[in-house]
C-alpha cells in the first residue's frame, strides 16, 4: 500500500518564497529612499542656515547608485561643494569679503570653524536606521536570525 502526504498550501508557500527576494528588494528600496531623503533634508537645512553663496546647498545631490544584481538598490548622497570637506571637518582662518565690500581677514563665512560633522553624522545615523529597518523587515518576513557582516 502506498503512503503519501498532501501538504495543502505548499505550492503557495513555495511561490511566496520565490517572490520574497523581489518583495524584499522593493521594500528595502523604499527604506533606503526614505532615509537618504531624510538625510538630504537634514544636511540641506544646516547648509542653508550657513548660507553665503549657496554652493553647499546647491551641490548637495541625490543620484542613483549603479549596483549590479537583480535584488540590489542604492542611492548616492553627494556633497559636491569645494568647501564641503572643510565644513564637515573644520577649517582654519579664511578671508572673505561681504556683499558691501567689507573684508574680513579671519574666520570662515559662518563664523568660527570647528568641525560640524553634519554630513558624516547624518549619514551614519541614516545608515544605522536603514540596517535596523531592513533587519526588522527580514525578520518579519520569516527569517529566524539576521547576522550583520
Amino acid at each position: 500500500m502506498k503512503a503519501f502526504v498532501v501538504w495543502n498550501g505548499l505550492q503557495d508557500y513555495m511561490d511566496a518564497l520565490r517572490q520574497m527576494p523581489a518583495e524584499c528588494a522593493g521594500e528595502a528600496k523604499h527604506i533606503v529612499e526614505g532615509e537618504v531623503n531624510a538625510a538630504y533634508v537634514t544636511i540641506s537645512a544646516v547648509y542653508g542656515a550657513h548660507r553665503h553663496t549657496g554652493t553647499l546647498q546647491k551641490r548637495l545631490t541625490i543620484s542613483p547608485l549603479k549596483v549590479a544584481g537583480q535584488y540590489t538598490t542604492g542611492l548616492k548622497l553627494t556633497s559636491g561643494s569645494p568647501i564641503a570637506w572643510l565644513f564637515d571637518n573644520g577649517s582654519q582662518a579664511r578671508h572673505y569679503t561681504t556683499a558691501k565690500g567689507v573684508q574680513h581677514d579671519t574666520g570662515a563665512m559662518w563664523g568660527k570653524t570647528p568641525p560640524t560633522h553634519i554630513f558624516t553624522k547624518t549619514v551614519a545615523k541614516g545608515k544605522r536606521v536603514v540596517v535596523d529597518r531592513i533587519k526588522t523587515m527580514v525578520l518579519r518576513r520569516g527569517a529566524t536570525a539576521v547576522t550583520e557582516t
Binding site: 582662518a93 579664511r94 572673505y96 573684508q103 570647528p114 560633522h117 551614519a124
Partner: protein, 139 residues
C-alpha cells in the same frame, strides 16, 4: 557611573603623552578648535556616537572621532610624519579609561585636505588624519 567625556580625555592624553608627536604638533592637542595663533596642532572631534544597549542598559559606546594634524604651510611642519604618528598611536593602541574596557580603536577612513585661502592663495593649511572608530564597553 562612567563619564563618557573620559574617553575624549584619554584620547587627548594618549597623544599629548607622545614626545615624538608633540615635537611636531608644538601647539598641542585640542578638542574641536585650536587656540588663536596656533599653527601646528592636533584636533580631536567627536563626529558621531551611539550607545549600544543590552538588557535595558548601556553595554558599550561606539564613537567615531575625527583626529587630524593641522599645520600652516609656512610653519615648516612634517604633516606626513605627524599623521603617521597619530595612526601608530591610535590604531589598536592601548587606551585606558576608568570604568570602561577598550573593545577597539581603529581607523575607518583616511582624511587629507589642503585648504587654500580664497583671497590670499599663499595662505594654506594642511589637514591630515582620519576617522577613528573607538568602542568602549562599560565594565
Amino acid at each position: 557611573m562612567v563619564d563618557s567625556s573620559d574617553i575624549d580625555a584619554a584620547l587627548t592624553a594618549k597623544l599629548l603623552a607622545d614626545t615624538t608627536l608633540m615635537a611636531m604638533a608644538t601647539d598641542g592637542v585640542f578638542i574641536d578648535e585650536a587656540s588663536p595663533g596656533a599653527t601646528k596642532f592636533v584636533i580631536i572631534s567627536l563626529a558621531d556616537e551611539v550607545d549600544v544597549a543590552t538588557f535595558g542598559g548601556r553595554a558599550y559606546e561606539d564613537a567615531l572621532y575625527l583626529v587630524k594634524f593641522v599645520a600652516l604651510s609656512t610653519a615648516g611642519a612634517n604633516v606626513k610624519a605627524a599623521a603617521a604618528r597619530i595612526d601608530v598611536l591610535l590604531e589598536n593602541g592601548t587606551i585606558t579609561v576608568a570604568g570602561y574596557t577598550r573593545m577597539t580603536v581603529h581607523r575607518e577612513a583616511r582624511l587629507r585636505q589642503t585648504e587654500v585661502d580664497a583671497l590670499d592663495p599663499t595662505i594654506r593649511w594642511f589637514h591630515r588624519g582620519g576617522h577613528y572608530r573607538a568602542q568602549f564597553s562599560i565594565t
